[in-house]
């Protein structure tokens, strides 16, 4: 019994010590993390926790307000957070948001917008957004936009939408830079680029620069693309018709000459329909010639019906308009051809 009491008191002391030890452990202000949690929580997910979570989608306006608020606080990549898979947006919502972001170009880094637009599933609306982005971007930062389109896959790059819109900026860049880029284009791509450069000749860049590019671009008219020659015909019809008539007369390539005539005749014909039709009559390709003249006569009928009907009922050569087409047009007005 005499040993029992010291044993009991010693056990009590040990228990007391353990109690104090345990309480010290609980009160530790920096609790140690379990090794497992370190392994399960690597650095990137931890960073993710620090990024703000976008509110659930209710409307484009609300999401845009959130993006602006975040950007005011320095979170310049906020827009991209809206498109993360966990945000759970439908395609329609994604397109609506992307459209608004592209429209709000001035607030964003174009590379962020590009990542968003390219992240959308490929569809017509996404393509239109891409073209819209390229158009604005190339006007604000031609070299940046060029670096972006250079990295596009060939099937997306060699399109009218991309290259025509990019031309708004490309026409201002040094010719050698644009030609180096053009080396990666297909025949159609070069044709699109030529079309874009000519289309903007009277608005941006300098014709000296654009013509230096065009001279070495080796672009030819392509069936899916509005040709550079046609644009040139339209431009010069307005600002220097004599020069255009000289170019037409000097052109030996029949396809190019026909394209020049299409553009030139259309604009001339808006002010002088008979002269426009005569010029169209010089187009060598019969199908193109008839299409152009038919289009022209329709335009005339909807702007000055009396004069156009009078011409149609007159002695119109078969080479200009087929009898069948003439009969069809007159029939639209309840009239019959005289012959």
């Amino acid at each position: 019994m005499q040993f029992l009491r010291p044993l009991v008191t010693s056990a009590l002391c040990m228990a007391l010590g353990a109690g104090v030890g345990a309480s010290v452990k609980r009160d530790d202000p920096l609790p140690p993390l379990q090794p497992e949690s370190v392994k399960k929580a690597p650095a990137v997910p931890h960073v993710t926790q620090l990024l703000p979570k976008p509110p659930p989608f209710t409307s484009v306006t609300a999401s845009m307000d959130w993006v602006r608020k975040e950007m005011r606080q320095g979170n310049t990549s906020a827009a991209e957070l809206l498109f993360r898979s966990e945000a759970g947006l439908t395609l329609e919502q994604q397109l609506a948001l992307a459209k608004e972001l592209v429209r709000d170009f001035r607030r964003h880094d174009p590379r962020t917008l590009a990542r968003i637009v390219l992240g959308l599933p490929r569809c017509q609306e996404a393509d239109h957004l891409l073209w819209s982005l390229i158009s604005t971007w190339s006007g604000e930062d031609a070299e940046g936009a060029l670096r972006f389109i250079e990295a596009l896959p060939a099937d997306r790059l060699n399109t009218v939408g991309v290259l025509q819109n990019a031309s708004w900026g490309l026409c201002r860049l040094p010719a050698e830079r644009v030609l180096a880029f053009a080396a990666q284009l297909t025949d159609k791509g070069r044709s699109c680029l030529a079309e874009g450069l000519t289309a903007f000749a009277n608005q941006a860049g300098s014709w000296r620069n654009s013509s230096a590019i065009l001279a070495k671009l080796n672009a030819k008219p392509h069936e899916d693309v509005y040709s550079a020659e046609r644009h040139m015909g339209q431009h010069l019809a307005e600002i220097d018709p004599q020069a255009m008539e000289s170019l037409i007369a000097a052109e030996t390539d029949v396809t190019k000459r026909d394209e020049m005539l299409k553009g030139y005749a259309w604009v001339i014909g808006l002010n002088d329909p008979v002269r426009g039709i005569e010029l169209n009559g010089q187009i060598v390709d019969q199908r193109d010639r008839h299409e152009q003249i038919e289009h022209h006569v329709e335009q005339w009928l909807t702007s000055d019906r009396t004069a156009a009907l009078s011409w149609l009922q007159g002695d119109v050569p078969e080479t200009l308009l087929s009898t069948a087409e003439r009969v069809k047009l007159l029939k639209s007005y309840g009239l019959e051809a005289d012959r």
Binding site: P6, C13, V20, K25, R72, G205, I239, L270, T302
Partner: protein
């Protein structure tokens, strides 16, 4: 002695108990690993996140400005010393937002040109982006022309190795001159050999004139030379705020050819109906005896068909027009737009019934048919 031993024993038990219970608090190896991994990274991120941003007026600060706060740099830039500007330019060129770069570049080059014109000219020619070079040049020219326009022209004319910059310089100088005397600037521009540069210059002059005084440009139209400038002004001034559309349409009605009158009346009535629909339709009703208004009637009918809610009123407008090309164009296009907007197809048909046979009616009928539900 026994008491001492008992006390030592109890103290030892107390310590053993404490050590056993709190053993992991002092475990060395794992704690070291934890300390070097997660808490450290967390702290470093937080430190990064809450570091005060660099001042907007520093090189690093300019690189970080966004559209939301770019204006904070305007005042500091306008007070900077010359030797600080190159660093500011470096910072600005690193900024990822084109809009911020463009806006602040202007402030920076205004300051630079004020302190050291030649230095500013050398700096702007060193920029690689054509757009930024253009904006910097505009800022410099705005200041330079206040003291020595001739020297500015001379410098721009000498830019033969950069035709894009040279042309934007010429256009800008002409635009500035047009603020004082648009016709003199236009006469000068008309002498330019390069037809595309001439066209761009005339357009710049036209925009400058219309922005400063749209109704003044309209009033001067009959005497404007060259014709290309007159044509451009005639086709665009109708879209400017506060312009007198009825007066413009009167000028258009005096043009020599039917084709010109037709094309420009359409432009003017499109702008008129967009701004003042009631006045525009009334104008059309009052002048519906003019054959050149066929295309204009189409435009007005299209606008009203797409925007009016009151079908009876729309139908009444069509009925008030004389039968023939103008009424046909108006009613057919109104029917087309009425159907396209998803309104009653029966009502669209009623409008179409006011048309005689014509291409416009064929097109409207095609639209109406395409809107019918498949059976």
């Amino acid at each position: 002695m026994k008491l001492m031993l008992q006390m030592l024993l109890h103290a030892l038990c107390l310590f053993v108990g404490f050590w056993l219970a709190s053993e992991k608090t002092f475990e060395p190896s794992e704690k070291a690993a934890v300390a070097t991994q997660q808490p450290k990274s967390k702290i470093s991120i937080e430190v990064q996140a809450f570091q005060p941003p660099p001042k907007a007026s520093s090189e690093a600060g300019l690189a970080l400005l966004t559209y939301e706060n770019w204006a904070e740099a305007i005042l500091p830039i306008s007070q900077m010393r010359l030797e600080e500007l190159p660093a500011m330019l470096r910072g600005l060129l690193r900024n990822p937002f084109p809009e911020v770069r463009r806006r602040l570049l202007r402030c920076l080059f205004e300051r630079w040109a004020a302190l050291d014109l030649n230095g500013a000219l050398i700096a702007l020619r060193g920029l690689s982006s054509p757009l930024l070079k253009e904006r910097a040049l505009w800022a410099v020219l705005d200041l330079w022309t206040k003291s020595d326009t001739e020297a500015a022209w001379k410098w721009v004319n000498a830019l033969e190795d950069d035709s894009v910059l040279q042309e934007t310089g010429i256009e800008h100088l002409l635009s500035l001159a047009a603020d004082k005397d648009p016709l003199a600037s236009a006469a000068w521009a008309d002498q330019i050999d390069d037809v595309f540069l001439r066209e761009k210059a005339l357009i710049q002059i036209a925009h400058s004139w219309m922005s400063n005084d749209a109704n003044g440009a309209l009033a001067a139209l009959t005497n404007v030379e060259p014709k290309r400038l007159r044509d451009y002004l005639l086709s665009k001034v109708c879209h400017r705020d506060g312009v007198d559309h009825a007066a413009g349409l009167e000028i258009v009605s005096q043009l020599p050819t039917q084709a010109e009158r037709s094309k420009l009346s359409e432009e003017w009535l499109s702008a008129y109906v967009n701004d003042h629909p009631q006045d525009a339709i009334q104008w059309l009703l009052d002048h519906s005896n003019r054959p050149e208004l066929q295309k204009s009637a189409d435009a007005v009918g299209g606008y009203l068909g797409a925007t009016m809610k009151n079908f009876a009123q729309l139908q009444s407008y069509a009925q008030q027009l004389p039968s023939g090309p103008i009424r046909d164009a108006f009613a057919a296009r109104a029917a087309n737009e009425w159907a396209s907007a998803g309104r009653s197809l029966a009502e669209a048909e009623q409008l179409l019934a006011l048309c005689g046979p014509c291409l416009e009616r064929d097109r409207a009928r095609s639209t109406i048919e395409s809107k019918r539900s498949p059976k």
